[in-house]
């Protein structure tokens, strides 16, 4: 061990000799991260994913993906004598009898909810600062793809448990698949292996998709996403004059930035485990096992599918038919077309904006939202549209809790869904322009002050 330097000579030499990694390490350790708190949101999603994988491995070691029926005689007395699938029974057992089982399950579920929330926050930041512009379109599209994959991944995860609530959600998924024009009947049977509830293999398919296929896909996409971010370097706000399109200014990974990332990692995982231990989520023993002939009131999907239940509820009741042929079943509009349209809009947006503005330059500097009023207004309007549909999905609980008539709410939401985005677009654009004007005034007055000061100093 060298008395002067901090790191043993042997280790560095050993590694470099066998991997040739020293140049890379040197570059990585001094890699510059521009520093703004909103740049950390993507990392929160990444660390949530790590927790998902870690807790998920634990869960997978206890879960039985079998639809064979058993009679329960375990430690949760109210379900004694119930017929249930081995899948449900194994999750009951994990929650009630396995030490640490419920903690892992709840942490996993909270992590899933927060994973998607963090991605959405991150996406909002990316959109409103224009970080998706050249040369980062590929990074953006991969991120969007990951969001699109995270939604069914979560859906599959909580549906695997085969409780009453999630089973109803699976039936609805089947209904949406059936409603796809022309190919819906074929698609639903392909996925389920026959009419609902489907082949027993359907459960194994969900399981393998959820624990193997999609996680590998996500991990690969995350890796590509991070490599692209690193390769193009992170975007930055132009806070200092030194920060330009050519030069990025920030904190190097070692020693400044790494502790921050490590702190964020432990903070995120710590919060997830605290939630997993202290706040109950998805108490499946209360719902009971799923049966095709049963249902409960107040059934809802997890929050990130709330926009779909809202859409399904406010679309008026009609199947689109031509004679005897049913072209579009009702659930298609809200359950499939609506989210597809939103994702297509998001995916196409960078290219459409480029076309509209004629701006084909490379952008490494970020806009503040006010710097591009049309983009910000568009994003706000899109978000409003999705939020209006999202909140429509909770109209029944609003009626139950506050007494607002359900029928009235549905009509109000139908109107909001059309009008609110337009209003928000106009308002946001105006606000951005006002802020820009205020900035200009401030700049001018600051320059005048400088001049006055310089003059009086002379």
């Amino acid at each position: 061990m060298s008395g002067r330097t901090g790191m043993p000579d042997d280790v560095v030499a050993w590694v470099d000799r066998r991997t040739g990694a020293a140049p890379f390490l040197k570059k990585a350790m001094r890699y510059v991260f521009p520093d703004h708190w909103s740049f950390l949101l993507g990392e929160v999603a990444l660390y949530s994913f790590v927790v998902l994988v870690g807790t998920g491995i634990f869960l997978a070691l206890f879960f039985e993906d079998s639809t064979a029926k058993v009679v329960y005689h375990g430690s949760y007395a109210p379900l004694a004598g119930f017929h249930m699938t081995k899948a449900y029974a194994s999750v009951l057992h994990l929650s009630w009898d396995v030490k640490g089982g419920l903690l892992m399950r709840q942490t996993h579920h909270w992590a899933a909810n927060i994973f998607v929330a963090a991605i959405v926050l991150h996406l909002i930041r990316i959109f409103f600062t224009g970080a998706f512009r050249k040369p980062r379109e590929a990074t953006y599209l991969i991120g969007l793809l990951m969001l699109m994959i995270a939604l069914p991944e979560g859906y599959l995860g909580y549906s695997l448990v085969d409780d009453l609530l999630s089973g109803m959600g699976l039936a609805i998924g089947y209904g949406v698949a059936l409603s796809v024009p022309f190919i819906g009947g074929n698609l639903a049977q392909l996925l389920w292996g026959g009419p609902f509830p489907g082949d027993p293999q359907f459960w194994s398919r969900m399981y393998i998709a959820h624990v193997l296929i999609i996680p590998i896909l996500l991990a690969t996409l995350i890796t590509i996403h991070l490599v692209l971010v690193a390769s193009r370097h992170h975007t930055q706000f132009s806070r200092l004059p030194r920060q330009t399109e050519r030069t990025v200014v920030g904190s190097p990974m070692v020693p400044s930035y790494a502790p921050k990332s490590i702190g964020l990692f432990f903070g995120t995982t710590g919060l997830l485990f605290l939630l997993g231990g202290l706040i109950q989520i998805n108490p499946i023993w209360e719902w009971g096992p799923f049966a095709t002939s049963q249902s409960t009131n107040a059934a809802q999907p997890d929050w990130y599918l709330g926009w779909l239940i809202g859409a399904l509820r406010i679309v008026p009741g009609f199947d689109l038919t031509i004679g005897d042929y049913t072209v579009v079943g009702n659930p298609f509009w809200g359950g499939a077309l609506f989210p597809l349209v939103v994702f297509i809009i998001l995916g196409v947006y960078p290219f459409w904006e480029r076309r509209r503005s004629g701006d084909r330059q490379t952008h490494n500097l970020l806009d503040r939202p006010r710097d591009n009023p049309r983009r910000t207004a568009f994003g706000a309007a899109l978000l409003t549209w999705v939020l209006a549909v999202f909140f429509a999905g909770s109209a029944d609980r609003a009626y139950e809790t506050f007494g607002f008539s359900y029928n009235a709410q549905i009509w109000i939401y139908r109107a909001l869904v059309i009008l609110a985005p337009l209003v928000v677009y106009a308002l946001t654009r105006k606000v951005c322009r006002e802020l820009q004007a205020a900035d200009r005034v401030e700049l001018v007055s600051k320059a005048a002050e400088e001049e006055a000061r310089a003059a009086s100093a002379r």
Binding site: R4, R30, V32, V98, K99, M168, I172, Y174, G175, V176, L178, S179, F182, G185, N186, Q189, L190, L191, G193, G194, P195, F196, P197, G198, R205, S231, R232, H233, E245, V249, S251, P252, P255, S256, P259, K260, I262, G263, G267, G270, L272, F273, L274, G277, L278, T292, S293, S295, T296, L312, G317, F318, D319, T326, V327, G329, N330, P331, G334, Y406
Partner: protein, 326 residues
């Protein structure tokens, strides 16, 4: 063993002397920072120790608590706090024990020379090829063939081409209706102002086409279509229990007590509140369902008074797909 407490105290009180690395190694890569503020190192060390205690606490709680006595809360608190203290230590470290740098780097430039070379390599590699389009066309065909071959096994996943199986139903003429405990239902069992769930005898009741919901209305209040005039003996009506919107079970029956003020009887689905009128044969009166509820014709066995299906359902059960009305 004696050395351990000495070492700990030395670690707590001692400070590493400033290293004269600058003279030894020339210009520094990492700029020199001020020595740490007095408390900062102690705070970080304390936070790390607290984290260790919580980690140990997790192990203790794991061993000592049982699932019945708040185990999940203890474990979650212990592990969560262990990680949170680690986070705090890292954050204090990052703010106080690490030099604050504003370093610079260049954004990457495109590589026009290498781009040209890549294009050149590709172009030059084809120097022996004279029939480019022929080869490309044939290659495209091969690719299509290979893709088709790779995708084809997916159809094994299900009866993808046979949508007729979506029509399949266990209900046939003469099938007895049984309750949850496989007991046949008698007409006399069905009282007005309530609802019942029934299944076809000896059939898989998890099938979407199996469960039916039964209600009894006053025969004079029925407004069934002409071709269903005898489908509801004694006013007993049977419908598929599966909502034609998206497939949830219809488990709500709205039964009015006082007709002048109350809404009329209806079967309601709890998922999206599709509402069906039993008196008219399952018409949709509210909600997003696009198709009436399939009705099961009933007959009452003259000898045993058991309820039996008088035929198949009026239409396919469950959510709509392209062939549902054919």
């Amino acid at each position: 063993m004696r050395r351990l407490p000495v070492a700990v105290i030395a670690a707590l009180l001692g400070r590493r002397g400033r290293r004269a690395a600058a003279e030894a190694h020339g210009e520094r890569i990492v700029p020199e920072g001020e020595p740490a503020p007095l408390g900062a190192e102690l705070v970080v060390a304390a936070l790390l120790v607290l984290s260790a205690i919580c980690g140990a606490g997790f192990v203790v709680a794991f061993a000592v608590t049982t699932p019945a006595t708040h185990q999940t809360q203890y474990l979650g608190l212990a592990l969560g706090l262990c990680l949170t203290f680690l986070a705090a230590a890292a954050i204090v470290f990052s703010k106080r024990l690490v030099v604050d740098e504003d370093a610079e780097e260049d954004y990457p430039e495109p590589h026009p020379a290498e781009q040209a070379e890549v294009r050149e390599i590709v172009r030059e590699s084809g120097s022996r090829i004279t029939r480019k389009r022929l080869l490309l066309g044939a290659g495209g065909l091969a690719g299509a063939g290979l893709t088709a071959a790779l995708v084809a096994p997916a159809v094994s996943l299900g009866p993808v081409f046979d949508t007729d199986s979506l029509r399949s139903s266990p209900w046939t003429r003469g099938k007895r209706l049984v309750d949850e405990r496989e007991r046949p239902l008698l007409a006399y069992d069905i009282e007005p102002n309530t609802f019942y769930t029934a299944y076809p005898e000896h059939e898989d009741r998890d099938r979407i086409a199996s469960p039916v919901i039964l209600v009894r209305l006053d025969p004079n209040a029925l407004k069934l279509p002409a071709d269903r005039a005898d489908w509801a003996p004694d006013g007993i009506l049977a419908f598929s229990k599966i909502c034609t919107h998206a497939g949830c079970a219809i488990s709500m029956y709205r039964k009015p007590l006082f007709a002048p003020a109350d809404p009329r009887p209806a079967l309601v689905c709890p998922c999206h509140y599709s509402t069906f009128d039993p008196a008219t044969g399952g018409d949709v009166i509210f909600g997003p369902a696009g198709r009436p509820l399939p009705q099961l014709p009933l007959l009452i066995d003259p000898a045993t008074r058991e309820l039996k299906a008088a035929g198949g359902m009026s239409g396919p059960v469950g959510p709509s797909w392209s062939g549902v009305r054919e």
